[in-house]
Amino acid sequence: MKELELGRFKVNDKYNYLIAAIAIILFPFMIRNNYVLHISIVLGIYLILGVSLNIVTGVAGELDLGHAAFFGIGAYVSSLFAQNIFNNFWIGLLSAALISLVFGFILGIPSLRIRGDYLAIVTLGFNEIVRYVLLNWQSVTNGPMGIHSIKTPSIFGYSFNTKQALFYLIYALVLVTIILMSRISKSRFGRALVGIRENEIAALSMGINTGYYKIWAFAITAAFAGVAGSLFAHYMSFISPMNFTSNESILILCMVVLGGKGSLIGSIVGVSVLLLLPEILRSVSMYRMLIYGMVLIFMMVYRPNGFWPEKRIPRKI
């Protein structure tokens, strides 16, 4: 059986990954500007968020407006664990992924009964509930003050305390995420999700256990958001509930849809454009969000499938 192709490039092409890896290694040598490095690191974190949301929103076709909740859960779990209990970034990272995974399962359960717009608003509600818990559970989360002076990651005594080192750490994880996501969306699992998106009843009658796949899609997406959250917390060294509002979720969803739902390259393009746009427009800072809004409308009206739409080759029998 021919593999489903997701995106215009063959993403499984080894050379593309090699080129990406070389570019990542060279980047900090060529760019000495701290501001640019900072933006690229944030971009990396959002790439993990966008590419993972693509599984639920793009491949499985469910609007998920609760991604920032997992981002937040990951950030808080990781910083609290790494700070107070284990004093180790890697355990923090893993526990962030695991706990986000569990919450992803929980958010996946409503998707068995609720669909479409109703599910979108449930995920948004979940995001708001998580934010209120972060705000009000003061004994643990320190409430609106947030958690500060979170330590930078370290491995075997080597501390990632420069921007260059953090850049490598984060982009290594970005690359891993992209490869995993590309593998997932082309696997049996990914094809099952595409089936569910295209027609759930038909998929069900072909013997696909739709509930199982949907819940796992939510869980995997959530786990990667947890990883991104952990990286965000340890990079920024300060987090507060303000970082994880439903507005943030909407922004991430915009990135995925604008890039082209279901296409991995599309998600990467979408995240890059929407994240860099406000930076490029900094010279007209008064109007930048105005232009941002106009770009969203303009794009959706004239290119509703996004910058880089998913291309699927019809399979001939």
Binding site: I114, D117, V122, N136, L290, V301
Partner: protein, 290 residues
């Protein structure tokens, strides 16, 4: 204390219901979530504020003018953000609406600044005291105004020719256009009616809390949307009841459970209701076909 909260809840609930009707009308007729609707609510407050303070218009004339302007804004939103992608993917309509919301918010911020402003007080507020319950005249005015507006809407939808055309478009727009009805016009009218209700709600809230800020539409829009989904989005009487239920739950929950989680109740109730009734309390069950 409980009766006091009941009245507070009814006040804010009827405002939620007004805003929620805008969501329901747009959803009923086009099947899309108009995320920019919260911004219309904000614009209602700001336009009347501008008319009163800068143009020194009579207060009630200003309110009516602001509501009409909101209606025009609704038509504009539909024309710019939704018309050409009416049959497009749901997610692109959502993003377009979000873009519109960001755009309107920033226009308001550029014109009126980003700080919270006091809304010009118009009527002197009297407080009626019965035992330990205090009711302000403002609350009574809000409840009465919203009930009048909602009855007008109900009359319009169920008793007039335009209402019939709107309901027909909601059921099947291509069939309706074959019957000689200008569907584009009906959609515009629906959006303007929803936006007028939203604008009116914005003015009422601005009067009630006596403060306006450029991002006031976000939370209110979100809550009103929750109210609409709670009642069954697309269903007009359901939405009205959904709004009132939401207002009551919030104010009662704040007393009975904890005021800190006041804003989270809306969403907890929403998720619980949807788990047991996936299309809201009064929503129609959709049969899915292959």
């Amino acid at each position: 204390m409980l009766i006091q909260q009941l009245i507070n809840g009814l006040t804010i609930g009827s405002v939620y219901a007004l805003v929620a009707l805008g969501y329901t009308l747009a959803y009923g007729i086009l099947g899309l979530i108009n995320f920019a609707h919260g911004e219309v609510y904000m614009m209602g407050a700001f336009l009347s504020f501008a008319l009163i303070t800068f143009f020194k218009v009579n207060v009630f004339v200003a309110f009516i003018a602001a509501i009409v302007l909101c209606g025009l804004l609704g038509i504009l939103i539909e024309f710019v953000a939704f018309r050409s992608i009416r049959n497009g993917a749901r997610s692109s309509q959502l993003i377009s609406a979000i873009g519109m919301s960001i755009l309107l918010q920033n226009i308001a911020m550029l014109i009126w600044g980003s700080n919270t402003k006091p809304f010009a007080p118009v009527t002197e507020e009297h407080v009626i005291k019965l035992n330990q319950i205090t009711i302000s005249t403002m609350q009574i005015e809000i409840i009465i105004t919203s009930f009048i507006l909602m009855s007008l809407l109900y009359f319009l939808i169920y008793k007039t020719r335009i209402g019939i055309a709107m309901r027909a478009t909601a059921q099947d727009s291509s069939m309706t256009s074959l019957m000689g009805i200008n569907v584009n016009k009906i959609v515009s009218i629906t959006f303007s009616i929803g936006s007028m209700l939203g604008g009116a709600a914005g003015i009422l809230v601005a009067l009630y809390y006596n403060s306006i800020v450029f991002n006031m539409g976000y939370t209110a829009g979100l809550k009103a949307f929750v109210a609409a989904v709670l009642g069954g989005i697309g269903n007009i009487p359901g939405t009205m009841i959904g709004g009132i239920i939401l207002g009551l739950t919030e104010s009662m929950g704040a007393v009975i459970i904890s005021a800190k989680y006041k804003d989270a109740f809306a969403f907890i109730i929403l998720i619980l209701v949807l788990l047991f009734r996936p299309t809201g309390l009064f929503g129609k069950k959709e049969v899915e076909k292959v």
